[in-house]
C-alpha cells in the first residue's frame, strides 16, 4: 500500500513537472503551424544532412523547452516536411542546448566548467550524429508510426514533388476546395491563412486553439502513460539500488545513465538533481547523467512513441546510450 502511495506521489510529481513544458511545447508547435510559413522555413534549412542535423541541434536556442515540450515541436517539424536529420537532432539536442538548461547547469556546476562545456558539446555531437544517421532513410514514413505517417502524407504532397507520383485523388484527410483547387486542411491553414493579412487575427486564433487542444490531449495521454511507467519502475527499482551499482569508473557511468532514464527528470532542473550526487560520484558519471537524461527517459519514450516506430526508438536509444558511454568514459581520462 505504501509503495502504491509512493508510486502515485512520484507519478503526480512527474506530471506536475512536465505538463507546463508540454503545454509550452504544444503552444510553440501550434504557433509554428499557423504563424510561420513552412515552405520558407524548409527553404531556409540546409539540404546537406550533416548541416541540417547541426542546425537542428541548435534550434533549441529558439525553443527553450525541456524534453517533453520539444516532442510536439519535433512532430510539427516533421509534419511540415522538415528532414528527419533536422527534426531528430532537434528532438535530441534541444532539451540540453538551450539557454535555460545551460544557465541552470552553470549555476549547479560553475565550479566544474568542464561539465558544463562537455554537456553541451557531447549533446550536440550525439544529436548531430544520430540526426545524420537517420537522414540516410529517404522514405521518412518507414521511421514513423503508421498513424502519424498518414498525417504526414497530405503535407508532403504540398512540396514540389512530381505530381504523377501521388495522385491527388488518392490522398486521405480533410480538404478545402478553393478556386477550383483542393488543398489539404492543414496545408490550407499554413499556406493560405498564414500569408493573408486581410484575414482577421481572430480567424487564426480559433484553429490555433483547436490544434493546441488536439495535440495536448494526444500527447498529454502519452505523458500520463510514460509518467505512470516511470513512477512504477522507480518504486520497484529504488534509486539506492541503482546507485549501489556504481563501483568504478565504468559502472558508475552506467548507473547514472540508468538513473537518468528512470527518474525522468526535466532537463531544466536535472543539474540540481545531479548536484546531490556530486560528492559521491565521478565527474564523468555526472556528465553521463546530464547528457543521457534529457535525450532518453522513460517518460519521454512514451511521447516519442507517438511519432516513431518502436524499432526506431530502440535504434535511437541504443546509439545514444553507446555514444554517451564512450564520450563520458573518454572524458574520464582527462578530467
Amino acid at each position: 500500500m505504501n509503495q502504491l502511495h509512493n508510486a502515485f506521489t512520484l507519478f503526480l510529481s512527474l506530471l506536475v513537472e512536465a505538463m507546463p513544458f508540454l503545454l509550452l511545447g504544444v503552444l510553440l508547435s501550434s504557433s509554428l503551424l499557423f504563424f510561420i510559413n513552412e515552405k520558407q522555413l524548409i527553404a531556409q534549412l540546409p539540404k546537406n544532412p550533416f548541416l541540417g542535423a547541426a542546425v537542428g541541434s541548435c534550434v533549441g536556442f529558439l525553443f527553450p523547452v525541456c524534453e517533453c515540450g520539444n516532442v510536439p515541436v519535433a512532430r510539427r517539424l516533421l509534419l511540415a516536411g522538415v528532414s528527419p536529420a533536422v527534426a531528430i537532432s532537434f528532438l535530441l539536442a534541444a532539451p540540453t542546448i538551450n539557454p535555460i538548461v545551460i544557465w541552470s547547469t552553470w549555476v549547479a556546476f560553475g565550479d566544474r566548467p568542464s561539465l558544463v562545456i562537455f554537456r553541451v558539446l557531447f549533446s550536440w555531437t550525439i544529436a548531430t550524429t544520430v540526426g545524420c544517421v537517420f537522414s540516410i532513410q529517404k522514405d521518412v514514413r518507414f521511421l514513423l508510426q503508421d498513424s502519424f505517417a498518414k498525417r504526414l502524407k497530405p503535407v508532403k504532397s504540398c512540396q514540389p514533388e512530381p505530381a504523377q507520383l501521388i495522385s491527388p485523388l488518392l490522398q486521405s484527410g480533410s480538404f478545402i476546395i478553393e478556386q477550383g483547387q483542393s488543398l489539404p486542411l492543414e496545408s490550407y491553414w499554413s499556406t493560405t491563412i498564414a500569408k493573408s493579412p486581410t484575414l482577421a487575427f481572430k480567424s487564426k486564433l480559433q484553429p490555433f486553439f483547436d490544434n493546441v487542444i488536439q495535440e495536448f490531449s494526444e500527447l498529454g495521454g502519452m505523458l500520463v502513460f510514460g509518467s505512470a511507467i516511470a513512477a512504477i519502475i522507480q518504486v520497484f527499482v529504488p534509486r539506492e539500488l541503482v546507485l549501489s551499482l556504481g563501483q568504478d569508473t565504468t559502472t558508475s557511468i552506467l548507473a547514472m545513465m540508468l538513473l537518468a532514464a528512470i527518474v525522468s527528470i526535466c532537463s531544466t532542473v536535472d543539474s540540481f538533481f545531479a548536484l546531490s550526487f556530486a560528492a559521491t560520484f565521478t565527474s564523468s558519471s555526472l556528465l553521463a547523467f546530464l547528457v543521457f537524461g534529457p535525450t532518453i527517459d522513460i517518460k519521454s519514450i512514451g511521447l516519442m512513441a507517438s511519432i516513431f516506430k518502436p524499432k526506431i526508438i530502440v535504434y535511437m536509444l541504443t546509439l545514444i546510450a553507446q555514444l554517451t558511454f564512450i564520450f563520458t568514459l573518454v572524458y574520464s581520462y582527462f578530467f
Binding site: 565550479d111 544517421v133 537517420f134 540516410i136 532513410q137 529517404k138 522514405d139 518507414f142 521511421l143 546507485l243 549501489s244 556504481g246 563501483q247 568504478d248 569508473t249 565504468t250 558508475s252 556530486a278 560528492a279 559521491t280 560520484f281 565521478t282 565527474s283 564523468s284 524499432k311 526506431i312 535504434y315 541504443t318 546509439l319 553507446q322 555514444l323 558511454f325 564512450i326 568514459l329 573518454v330 574520464s332 581520462y333 578530467f335
Partner: protein, 484 residues
C-alpha cells in the same frame, strides 16, 4: 518477403553503427582494466585541480583546495598528503574537494611541494579497497621575505630602501632629488606608496609633501627598474598623514588648504580618481579598517567610523576611546586607547583595550606611561606594543619597552626594555617571523632619526622554550616595515 527487402537503409546503418560502437566500448573497457596507474589514459582517481599550483602565496592565502575527480577514501588521502617543508594545518572536506587550512601564514621565501600518492577512491557501499590515485605532485611558493626603510646615511639618506631578505639584496627605490618622509606598502608588496618632498627644500619639505608610488619588483616574474608615479600633488593643499586601504584601492590623506587654513579635512583617492573630501570636521589620527570601506577617525571626544565616500556621515561613534591603534587582519577586532578622561582618579593614565565586533571591550593594561603603537600578529592571538613606563622619582622620565600581550589570557610580557626614551613603530612580519623596529644607536642621548639602526626581535616560542631574542641588523635608517 525476403530479408533484403525488409532491411531498410536505416536498419543497415543503425545495426552496423551499433556493432561498431559496441566494439569501441569493449576496447575501452578492456583498456580500462589493462591500464596501470601510470598509464596516460588513467581512468581512475586523480587530483583534477589544485588552486595553488605554481602560485605565489602571501599572508592572505590561508587555505588551498585539492579537487578530485571522484569520491575518495578520506582517511587514505589525509594519511598520504604531504607538504614539504611541513606546513601545519587542518583538513576539511566538501564533496570531492579537500581544503587544507594553514594554522598560521606560510613562512615567506620558501618553495613548497604538495604530493599525494597511495590514496584510494571509495564509492558508496564499496567494501573492498578502492583503486589507487594517480600520483600527484604540486608546487607553490611564498613571497620573498622583504622589508623597506628610510635610509639616513651616505647615498641612502632620505631614500626608500628595499631589502629582499630571501635573496639578500638591497635596492634604493627613490631618486636623489626626493626625500621620503613616510611610506606604506601595497597589499601584494609589489608597490609602495610614499610621501616625499624635494630634497632641496630641507626641513621645509614636510610642508610640501607629495604622494608617489614606486614599484618594488618584488615577486615579479621579470626584473624591472623602480618607476616613480605621482599620485597626489601639493599645488593647492598641504598633504600630511596618509593611509592606504588593505585592498590597495583607496588612499586617505589629511590635507590643509594652502590658501585657506580653515579648510582642513580628510580626503580620499579611489581608483586614481580626483581626491574627494570625506569630512572637513576636526579630526585627529585615523586608520582605514581592513574592509577597505570605512575609516576610523579620532573626532572630538571619541572615534567616528566613516564610510569611504564623499561627505560621509558617521556610521558609528565610539565615545569611550581616543585612538585606534590597529585592526586584526580579518577586521573583527581592534586595539584602542581609552584616555580615562571621565574618571578623575584615573586621570593621566591610559588603558589599552581590545574591542571586537561582538561588542566585547576588554581592558588589556593600564599605564601611566604612554601607548605609542600596537600591532596584532597575523593570527590575532597576540598584540605587540611599543609602550613606556613612568619612572618613579622627581624627574619625569619615560622608559620605553616592547610588550607582548596574549589576547586569550590577557597577560602582558615585556620582551625588551630600553634605558633611554625613544620613539619607534613596530612592524610584525606577515608570516610572524619577528618584529622589526628602529632603535637609537648605543649611548645616543637624543632621539634623532639620523642615529637610528634597525633591529629584529624574535619573540619567545613557548613550545620551543626559547627566550625573546633581539638582534641589530646591519641597516641604518628608520620606519622599517615588512612588506606584506
Amino acid at each position: 518477403m525476403n530479408t533484403e527487402k525488409q532491411l531498410q537503409p536505416i536498419d543497415q546503418l543503425a545495426i552496423a553503427l551499433m556493432i561498431l560502437l559496441a566494439l569501441i566500448m569493449g576496447f575501452l573497457i578492456w583498456g580500462n582494466n589493462a591500464c596501470d596507474r601510470n598509464c596516460i589514459f588513467h581512468p581512475g582517481a586523480r587530483v583534477s585541480a589544485f588552486n595553488w599550483q605554481n602560485k605565489t602565496i602571501g599572508r592572505e592565502d590561508r587555505a588551498f583546495v585539492l579537487s578530485f575527480n571522484r569520491p575518495m577514501n578520506h582517511d587514505s588521502v589525509e594519511q598520504n598528503l604531504t607538504i614539504t617543508p611541513p606546513l601545519p594545518g587542518k583538513i576539511s572536506w566538501s564533496g570531492l574537494r579537500l581544503a587544507y587550512t594553514l594554522k598560521s601564514p606560510a613562512p615567506y621565501g620558501e618553495t613548497y611541494q604538495v604530493s599525494l600518492a597511495g590514496a584510494t577512491d571509495r564509492f558508496s557501499d564499496q567494501e573492498q579497497a578502492g583503486t589507487t590515485i594517480k600520483p600527484f605532485q604540486g608546487e607553490f611558493r611564498s613571497r620573498d621575505r622583504a622589508f623597506a626603510y628610510i635610509g639616513t646615511q651616505g647615498v641612502e639618506q632620505g631614500k626608500l630602501i628595499l631589502f629582499n631578505w630571501t635573496q639578500q639584496q638591497s635596492e634604493i627605490l627613490t631618486p636623489d632629488d626626493l626625500t621620503v618622509f613616510d611610506f606604506e606598502p601595497y597589499p601584494q608588496g609589489d608597490r609602495i606608496l610614499f610621501s616625499a618632498a624635494d630634497t632641496q627644500l630641507g626641513t621645509k619639505g614636510v610642508q610640501n609633501l607629495q604622494l608617489y608610488r614606486v614599484n618594488t619588483g618584488l615577486n615579479a616574474k621579470s626584473a624591472n627598474k623602480p618607476q616613480i608615479e605621482l599620485i597626489l600633488d601639493n599645488q593647492q593643499y598641504q598633504n600630511n598623514k596618509f593611509d592606504l586601504a588593505r585592498n590597495g584601492q583607496a588612499i586617505v590623506v589629511q590635507r590643509l588648504n594652502r590658501y585657506n587654513p580653515a579648510e582642513y579635512g580628510l580626503w580620499m583617492i579611489a581608483d586614481n580618481q580626483p581626491p574627494q573630501l570625506i569630512t572637513d570636521g576636526q579630526i585627529g589620527d585615523f586608520l582605514i579598517a581592513p574592509d577597505s570601506q570605512t575609516v576610523a577617525v579620532a573626532q572630538g571626544e571619541g572615534i567616528a567610523l566613516l564610510p569611504l565616500a564623499a561627505d560621509a556621515e558617521p556610521l558609528d561613534f565610539l565615545p569611550r576611546f581616543g585612538q585606534v591603534l590597529d585592526f586584526t587582519a580579518d577586521g573583527t577586532g581592534a586595539a584602542m586607547i581609552d584616555y580615562n578622561t571621565d574618571n578623575a582618579k584615573l586621570r593621566y593614565t591610559r588603558s589599552l583595550f581590545y574591542v571586537n565586533n561582538q561588542g566585547i571591550q576588554q581592558e588589556l593594561l593600564k599605564t601611566d606611561g604612554s601607548i605609542q603603537n600596537c600591532q596584532f600578529d597575523p593570527t590575532a592571538t597576540h598584540l605587540y606594543c611599543w609602550l613606556t613606563e613612568l619612572q618613579q622619582g622627581q624627574e619625569y622620565i619615560e622608559k620605553p619597552y616592547i610588550a607582548e600581550i596574549d589576547l586569550k589570557t590577557k597577560q602582558a610580557k615585556t620582551l625588551l626594555s630600553l634605558a633611554e626614551y625613544q620613539n619607534s613603530k613596530l612592524s610584525i612580519a606577515p608570516d610572524g617571523l619577528g618584529i622589526i623596529f628602529e632603535r637609537s644607536l648605543s649611548n645616543a642621548v637624543i632621539d634623532f632619526e639620523s642615529n637610528k639602526s634597525i633591529w629584529l626581535l624574535i619573540p619567545a616560542d613557548a613550545q620551543a622554550n626559547s627566550l625573546a631574542n633581539a638582534e641589530k641588523l646591519p641597516f641604518i635608517g628608520f620606519r622599517p616595515q615588512w612588506l606584506p
